[in-house]
């Protein structure tokens, strides 16, 4: 029974052909009627991505009952302007480059449009802007470029060859909502999938009856462990599938974490699918569970994967829950410590952090006219997903096509195959189009986040501050499955330790299974956690020695000619293609010294301090990263550039156009980019490990150069398309550097940490696009500040207690201060036209730099992230023992 208050909904001037359903939110009503520009970020009223105007007032359409829109005018971002006729606010977002992935942009634009002057500017005093936009979240930018957009400042340049701030090619479409993301496609006959998730941390399914669910009208398929291929694999994907353990089945009769998918229902609508999930009868035998990684590797611990073959599954010690381990020493650490004039030691802990990309994971699959399985997915790695789907289903790669539209943020989280497998199975079973879109809650309960780690560090140095010994002991909680466990552990311990020249080094590291939600890949890939510990310990060392934190780095960092050593033989394919760490140290030191801010900004009674940290990152992941590109000049002057790499806010679409335009000496506007589609573009390992510029970019440069040579050799006009091809294999690899500095004030009464000055110097080689690079640095710093001060996924007995953005403390505009971004002046021999990668790395030095500044201010060493106000307050009470006792659910990490 729907009693309408009269009147049709009017959407952008037009009345849709049907009325809203009771219980339907305005967001899905609008999307059902073709308004795909209205995005789902949180589906709970927190993030604002779905903001539309109702009679001119901005509302979060995900919590606005659609029936209330009856008789009212709804305006979406597409109703404000078009790519050809931008609304002033849209123009400002384009010109400021006020977005990266762009998934939040529609919501920012609609919200701003209700507040803006006729030039599209929104002005507010003090923290007014942060207050106005506390209902609009952005995960990519760190908000500076959005503030620029709101102020009407322009950051992009016309023309736009290599080295200029060309705007993103998709900019106008993003600002108007016409750029299509993964699930932005008409809902023509698509079936919807809902998941049944495990309520238990460890249990065996002993009873399963899907008859009632299957019998529900509208249900097409119910999938359980009885229906899946008998293949072990991993959700994590790398160039080599041997990098990750084969330890999971698509659906299993043993569940190993709360939230694990147990069954899937495919039905005519999401509502029917959800109802059918409730009708699945399932009985479990509970198994003992372990949630603490230290306990997990002890003798009596319940085993998660006791029957895995260590060799075939590539799990180090299933009998001890150890997925991967590294134990090794170079030199003689005991002797180095004994010889030291000063030693320091400590143990640091990091929390569980969620990528929180605004677009949740989702995929839609169908069979094309040739019977090819087509999967359109929110993925950073379409080619790797294709490869693994073929492996899992036992079909040829040619029978699978995977493509990605623009991806709404990834940060590593979409270097996993979390939805494509089960969607693919449903499509193969039904022969119909099937879609699965994860909920925000599922992003917290089944999407792998950052590995929580416990890192113990002991350092020794002589009286001059030269390191005599480095001893690092790392324990990572990889959760119930080993996806990314080896990679994160080895990478985390690699550049963090190899950054320092020291004759005596020992690293012991283990990645351990627990019955917690799995951990996975997230910006920095383990480095941030280990660097937090090592750079904090170095700060202690500098204090003990009475020398500056900058000088202790200068005396110990590797310089060209040094080997990259961790706890064994030095790397063979890692090289100094360039070196800008010295410049980065100077730049940050000078910036902090020149800090002109007056002491008046510090409230009375607050304690101030400054701190810094350094980090190194390899420009490309090890063991191969391949990319192929094709540049084709058409007789009409268009250049079509095919490259397999995906755009998810990393800006590679812009960079590839710039590289090709410069190599070909053509207007960037003439270049049409086709990406991330296994049916169109050449192979690309994937957009991870910051490879979009240095691997795919070099393939693009080679392709464009090859095309140029052919064109230059032509005598007369082009009569048929001419193509050039390029390829890069991802080796040898170079190194890039980041140094971060903070000046902070801490309120001893509340534990509040206020950032007074934030500066990061980056060594990215030649800067391809200054505005985009600045944006990548700011975004990485913002996520670093989030991990350092706010963000935390709570887990109690394996139950995730943080299930929405509002409880996750997602950093808002008011939480992220502006960061001064400085560039070292270097030219990399291994990069693309002298450029290096710089996407993950800015995250890595943030937490220790901030912790070192807090230490400087309060005289107590923070050893745990996040340095939330309650924790810092407790430190100030001298209550170090209780640090980490609260919240108890968060303390189940290592």
């Amino acid at each position: 029974m729907t009693r309408s208050s009269g009147g049709r909904v009017v959407v952008n001037g037009v009345s849709p052909d049907s009325d809203p359903a009771p219980g339907q939110c305005l967001r899905t009503y609008l999307r059902d009627h073709g308004c795909l520009e209205v995005k789902k970020g949180c589906d709970a009223g927190d993030c604002g991505a779905c903001t539309v105007l109702v009679d001119g007032a901005p509302v979060h359409s995900c919590v606005f009952p659609a029936v209330r829109a009856a008789g009212r005018e709804v305006t979406t971002v597409a109703g404000l302007g078009t790519p050809e006729g931008l609304h002033p606010v849209q123009r400002n977002f384009v010109e400021a480059a006020g977005f990266q992935c762009g998934f939040c942009t529609a919501g920012f634009v609609t919200t701003a449009s209700a507040l803006a002057d006729e030039e599209g500017r929104v002005a507010a005093e003090g923290d007014g802007l942060a207050r106005l936009f506390k209902g609009n979240f952005c995960r990519c930018t760190g908000y500076r470029s959005i503030r620029d957009a709101l102020a009407g400042r322009s950051n992009v340049e016309e023309g736009g060859g290599f080295g200029t701030s060309l705007g993103a090619p998709a900019g106008r479409r993003v600002a108007c909502g016409s750029e299509r993301y993964t699930l932005d496609a008409p809902d023509d006959g698509v079936l919807h999938m809902a998941l049944l998730q495990s309520p238990h941390a460890h249990a065996r399914v002993v009873h399963l009856d899907v008859s009632a669910a299957s019998a529900l009208p509208g249900v097409h398929l119910v999938l359980t462990h009885r229906d899946v291929p008998d293949v072990l694999y991993s959700s994590a994907r790398h160039e080599s599938r041997l990098d990750d353990p084969d330890d999971m089945r698509m659906l299993d009769d043993v569940v190993r974490f709360r939230g694990q998918r147990v069954a899937a229902v495919v039905a005519e609508s999401m509502a029917v699918a959800e109802r059918a999930v409730e009708l699945i009868e399932i009985g479990y035998d509970l198994l003992p569970a372990v949630h603490d990684p230290e306990q997990a590797r002890s003798v009596d611990a319940p085993l998660l994967h006791p029957f895995l073959d260590p060799v075939r599954s590539r799990v180090s010690e299933p009998g001890r829950n150890v997925v991967a381990q590294s134990h090794g020493e170079v030199g003689d650490v005991a002797a180095g410590l004994a010889a030291a004039a000063v030693t320091v030691h400590g143990t640091w802990r990091t929390s569980r952090v969620n990528q929180a990309a605004l677009e949740t994971h989702g995929a839609r699959g169908w069979l094309d006219e040739y019977g090819t399985l087509v999967i359109r997915s929110s993925t950073q790695i379409p080619f790797l997903v294709r490869k693994e789907l073929a492996h899992v289903f036992g079909i040829r790669e040619a029978e699978v096509r995977v493509l990605a539209a623009r991806v709404g943020g990834g940060f590593g989280g979409k270097q996993e195959m979390l939805v494509e497998d089960i969607v693919g199975l449903a499509v193969l079973r039904l022969g119909r189009a099937v879609q699965l879109e994860l909920t925000r809650e599922q992003q917290f309960t089944l999407v792998p986040g950052r590995h929580p780690m416990r890192v113990a560090v002991e350092l020794g140095a002589d009286a001059d501050g030269v390191l005599t010994a480095m001893k690092v002991d790392v324990l990572t909680d990889t959760g119930a499955y080993g996806n990314h466990a080896p990679g994160v552990m080895f990478h985390g311990c690699h550049e963090s330790v190899a950054l320092y020249r020291c004759a005596n080094k020992r690293v012991d590291a283990e990645a351990v299974y627990t019955n917690n939600v799995p951990s996975g890949a997230f910006r920095g890939y383990g480095l941030g956690q280990v660097i937090f510990a090592i750079e904090s310990a170095l700060d202690d060392l500098a204090r003990e020695l009475g020398i500056s934190a900058f000088d202790v780095r200068r005396r110990n960092v590797v310089v060209p000619g040094d080997d990259f050593v961790v706890n064994g033989p030095a790397d063979t394919d890692l090289d100094f293609g360039s070196y800008g760490l010295d410049q980065c140290l100077d730049l940050v030191e000078n910036a902090l010294r020149a800090d002109g801010r007056s002491v008046d900004e510090v409230p009375e009674g607050w304690m101030t301090g400054h701190g810094m940290a350094a980090s190194m990152i390899a420009t490309i992941p090890p063991r191969g990263h391949h990319s192929e590109a094709t540049a084709t000049m058409h007789p009409d002057g268009r250049v079509v550039l095919d490259v397999g790499s995906a755009e998810f806010g990393n800006g590679t679409a812009t960079v590839h156009v710039q590289i090709a335009a410069t190599e070909l000496d053509v207007d960037p506007a003439l270049i049409e980019l086709r990406t991330a589609d296994t049916a169109i573009a050449g192979y690309d390992t994937g957009a991870y490990g910051s490879t979009g510029s240095v691997v795919a970019g070099r393939a693009v440069a080679d392709a464009a150069r090859s095309l140029r040579q052919q064109l230059d050799a032509l005598d007369g006009p082009i009569l048929a398309p001419v193509s050039g091809r390029g390829h890069h294999q991802g080796s040898p690899r170079s190194v890039a550097f980041n140094v971060h500095g903070f000046r902070v004030a801490v309120d001893p009464g509340s534990g509040e940490v206020r950032i007074l000055h934030s500066v990061q110097a980056t060594d990215a080689g030649v800067v391809i696009n200054p505005e985009q690079l600045r944006g990548q640095v700011e975004g990485g710093v913002a996520q670093g500040i989030g991990s350092s001060l706010y963000e935390e996924v709570g887990v109690r007995d394996g139950h995730v207690t943080t299930r929405s953005f509002r409880d996750y403390r997602f950093p808002q505009m008011g939480d992220v201060p502006e960061t001064e971004v400085l560039f070292a002046d270097t030219w990399d021999e291994l990069g693309v036209r002298g450029a290096k990668s710089m996407s993950e790395a800015p995250y890595n030095p943030v937490a220790p730099a901030l912790a070192n500044a807090v230490r400087d201010a309060i005289g107590v060493r923070p050893r745990e992230l996040p340095m939330s106000r309650d924790r810092v307050w407790r430190l100030l009470q001298g209550d170090r023992s209780s640090q980490g006792l609260w919240p108890p659910e968060a303390r189940q990490g290592p």
């Binding site: 009693r3 509302v59 923290d127 609009n136 909920t439 609260w886």
Partner: protein
């Protein structure tokens, strides 16, 4: 999000419309109801169509309709809100949600939701407002908001009871207020909210967000600091959630209470 089990929706226009059928639930303005799955809900009864006057200044004081939105509260002229107008703004600012939600969220909805950090609970408890409740049998009952909210997400409201309005005494609009709040991030969900109100009899200190239910400490004219400290020592419901640990919240509440007491006493 879509409430997939909901199959009916009706707009309430009169009191008769408020009788709930099996599975029906009231829908207010904000609307929190759509922010979480609502298993079991099959129908919605919209309260925002009742047409209640948002606020009325009476001889006894001020009556705020349960359906008065936060935005409408902020639009009440200063002269009508009297000395509480600044407090209203401060409490609205304490909302986690942005102006886009405040534009729609109602005082009654915020009280019914009974979150410890409910900003309108802070406001109404500080004013010692009395809730007027329409009972399911067609009657009416009154209860101070401080007692109506009994814990995190719990109230005394029985099935079929509807909040009609909040009555604020005239004296509450003359008294002096001091306000403090904190959260784990600058504009995050409140971890502790303390309001002190200087009355003719002494000082009322109200705690919300830091405690599972509102706490009101009445201080006489003498020995206020000591009484306050003793009263806070007896608080047994410091709240714990993602927005702060209970020991810190207790410390912040003590700190703010002392500051607020000083401020209203000066």
């Amino acid at each position: 999000m879509d409430l997939s089990t909901v199959t009916s929706y009706r707009r309430a226009a009169r009191r008769d419309d408020l009788v709930l059928s099996e599975g029906e639930t009231y829908l207010s303005g904000g609307t929190w109801l759509f922010s979480e799955p609502q298993p079991g809900a099959s129908g919605l009864v919209d309260l925002t169509s009742l047409g209640w006057t948002p606020w009325e200044r009476t001889e006894e004081g001020l009556t705020l309709a349960a359906t008065c939105t936060v935005e409408e509260l902020l639009a009440v002229p200063d002269v009508a809100l009297g000395s509480a107008h600044e407090l209203a703004r401060q409490c609205a600012d304490a909302f986690l949600m942005s102006f886009k939600i405040q534009h729609l969220a109602t005082l009654g909805g915020n009280v019914c939701l009974a979150l410890p950090a409910g900003a309108m609970i802070s406001f109404l408890v500080a004013l010692d407002a009395t809730a007027v409740i329409w009972t399911a049998d067609g009657g009416e009952r009154r209860e101070p908001v401080r007692y109506l909210v009994t814990g995190a997400r719990t109230t005394t409201l029985a099935a079929g009871e509807v909040l009609r309005s909040f009555e604020v005494s005239a004296s509450a609009l003359l008294d002096r207020y001091a306000f403090r709040r904190c959260s784990l991030s600058p504009l995050g969900r409140s971890s502790a909210v303390v309001v002190a109100r200087r009355t003719s009899a002494g000082v009322l200190v109200t705690l919300t967000a830091a405690t599972r239910r509102p706490i009101v400490v009445a201080l006489g004219q003498q020995g206020q600091e000591g009484s306050l400290a003793r009263a806070l020592d007896e608080v047994d419901c410091w709240y714990a959630d993602a927005h702060g640990s209970p020991d810190w919240r207790a410390a912040m509440a003590r700190r703010f209470a002392a500051q607020c007491l000083t401020e209203v006493s000066s």
